[in-house]
């Protein structure tokens, strides 16, 4: 859906989305990376399991929730990438354990 203005990335780091290595740039949000993927979504909803993708990018919609380094329901638009970070798209029910 989205693309970087500059490609290839300068100072690229690698993060993992559902196990697959993906290039990212220091300083950008995890949500920004997700929106560049071929499958540009972050989670499915607890009620009807429909797909959602980051919508507001400023922390007020919670559609960008995903599992980050093992922690469920993280707002990826407020989370900056870090080398080796592991992102998992989140399915269905939110988990309250962390």
């Amino acid at each position: 859906m989205f693309r970087k203005l500059h490609e290839p990335l300068t100072e690229a780091i690698t993060i993992y989305v559902d196990g697959a290595p993906v290039a990212a740039e220091p300083g950008e949000s995890v949500a920004a990376v997700l929106l560049r993927q071929k499958e540009a979504w972050s989670r499915t909803t607890p009620v009807t399991q429909s797909r959602r993708a980051p919508y507001c990018l400023m922390g007020v919609c919670f559609d960008c929730l995903a599992k980050v380094d093992g922690v469920a329901s993280v707002q990826t638009c407020l989370t900056m990438v870090a080398p080796g970070m592991r992102i998992e798209r989140q399915q269905g029910k939110r988990s309250l354990s962390a």
């Binding site: 990376v33 909803t45 959602r52 980051p54 007020v60 309250l96």
Partner: protein, 465 residues
């Protein structure tokens, strides 16, 4: 427990300005913000981006944020980015999570500088991946240098879509078309406010400049669009629209960006029990404030767009003004000195605010924003449709809190930030009473979801009263 004189929530234009003034008057200041860097939404990533090529295409108003951020950094205020405020109690005790650790901050005064959010404007399909707000797309451009891959459809009203399209074109992006949702006759209605707005002529001219740039670039514009619908299964595939005079079209689309103005972020003041009042022209609640920005709750101030939408310059002025009064109330500044210093700030603020009646009338949201078709999901979190809300009305005369209890609308992680005003409006129409009378959800802690792990981390440090 950390203890400070002044807790500032938000590090955008208002919060940064307030911190600078509060520090100049000897207050001990802590600034918390959920973003990773100072600047708020308008100056997102400004410290790292302003001096780059991307900064140049974002324009002068963006670059101006660099000086403000530098002054803030040099102010001596303690700054904790990446902090989520999830509860604040009178007294004041603020519960904050940072790096998955919760803690309590005690403060003698609080300035809420939490800004604004884009007005939720539900339509069928607005939850599909591929639908984002224009503000979101602009944040992607600022923060990540990222633009829609294919020519993008933009639907909405107000200055932000015009500004974003201008920036996008400069960056080498393409616009498939702009569906202008401003209703017919708005310019005529706004014209009587024009003389008052002339003091802010510069901003008006800027707006006209953006329009001219779009015209030169040949961006197709469809005027008076009244209804839109995003169609697709797992993501947006098509966009359907209908104009006020009944012209309909279906176009293929991958990304649809929408914007129907901005509204103050009202949850923090509501959580503190600050009085709010309904603004008919902006169709939202605004906190009731005195001329210093102090709310109905002693020692609680609201500054910036959270005090009423007025833009970055006004936000900075309001931040300085609120901090002066906080310094007076905490015994660091005389009343006379504060009055003297506030006078020039107030006259600049007056000039900024003079533009608002014109803009607010010109860009008042189209009525359809508040009357989505039955099948529209109004609560994104719990997936409650407009129909379900309307069905409830047949059973009685529920208020927003009953709707919440019956349907779970407003109970999800966003805490009604996306559905609150829609529920208020649907009830107002169905029950035939003014929205201001219907009211808003009661805001309860936590303001942001907290995990059990985070709560436990709090327990280890402090007994919770």
């Amino acid at each position: 427990m950390s203890e400070v004189d002044l807790l500032i929530v938000g590090a955008g234009p208002a919060g940064m300005a307030a911190a600078v003034t509060a520090r100049q008057n000897g207050l001990d200041v802590l600034v918390i913000d959920d973003q990773p860097a100072p600047g708020g939404q308008i100056w997102r990533s400004v410290e790292t981006v302003a001096a780059t090529k991307r900064g140049a295409l974002l324009g002068e108003a963006y670059a101006a944020g660099q000086a403000s951020a530098a002054a803030f950094r040099a102010s001596g205020a303690v700054y904790e980015p990446g902090s989520q405020l999830w509860q604040i109690e009178p007294g004041f005790r603020a519960f904050v999570t940072r790096d998955r650790q919760a803690r309590v901050i005690k403060a003698r005064a609080v300035i809420l500088a939490t800004g604004a959010q884009e007005r939720p404007a539900p339509f069928p399909g607005w939850t599909l991946p591929g639908v984002l707000t224009v503000g979101a797309a602009q944040i992607l451009l600022k923060n990540a240098g990222e633009i829609p891959e294919k020519p993008v459809w933009i639907a909405g009203s107000g200055p932000l879509p015009l500004l974003y399209m201008t920036q996008l074109l400069k960056a080498g992006g393409r616009v498939a078309g702009y569906l202008d949702t401003t209703p017919k006759g708005r310019l005529m209605a706004a014209l009587p406010h024009l003389p008052g707005a002339l003091g802010a002529m510069g901003d008006l001219l800027k707006g006209l400049g953006w329009k001219a740039a779009l015209k030169r670039a040949g961006v197709p514009v469809v005027k008076h669009v009244a209804e839109i619908e995003a169609v697709g299964t797992d993501k947006v595939e098509q966009l359907r629209y209908r104009t006020a005079n009944g012209r309909e079209a279906i176009v293929s689309a991958e990304v649809v960006l929408v914007h129907e103005g901005v509204v103050p972020s009202i949850h923090p003041p509501l959580a503190l029990g600050c009085k709010v009042e309904w603004s008919d022209v902006q169709a939202c609640y605004v906190p009731v404030l005195d001329s210093w920005g102090e709310s109905s709750q002693d020692y609680v101030f609201v500054a910036g767009d959270g005090a009423g939408i007025a833009g970055a310059k006004a936000a900075e002025l309001r931040g300085h003004i609120a901090a002066l009064r906080a310094a007076v109330k905490l015994g660091r500044l005389g009343e006379g000195a504060a009055d003297e210093r506030a006078a020039p700030l107030r006259s600049s603020l007056g000039r900024e605010l003079a533009l608002r009646p014109f803009l607010d009338t010109l860009f008042a949201p189209r009525p359809q924003v508040f009357a989505p078709p039955d099948e529209t999901i109004v609560c994104r979190c719990e997936e409650v449709s407009a129909q379900e809300i309307r069905d409830l009305v047949k059973l009685g005369r529920p208020g927003p809190n009953q709707v919440k209890a019956f349907t779970r609308a407003g109970m999800g992680p966003c805490q009604g930030r996306q559905c609150g005003y829609t529920i208020t409006h649907i009830l107002a129409q169905a029950e035939n009473r003014p929205p201001g009378e219907v009211g808003f959800y009661r805001v309860r802690p936590p303001l942001k979801p907290v995990t059990l792990g985070e709560l436990a981390s709090l327990d280890q440090q402090e007994p919770v009263a």
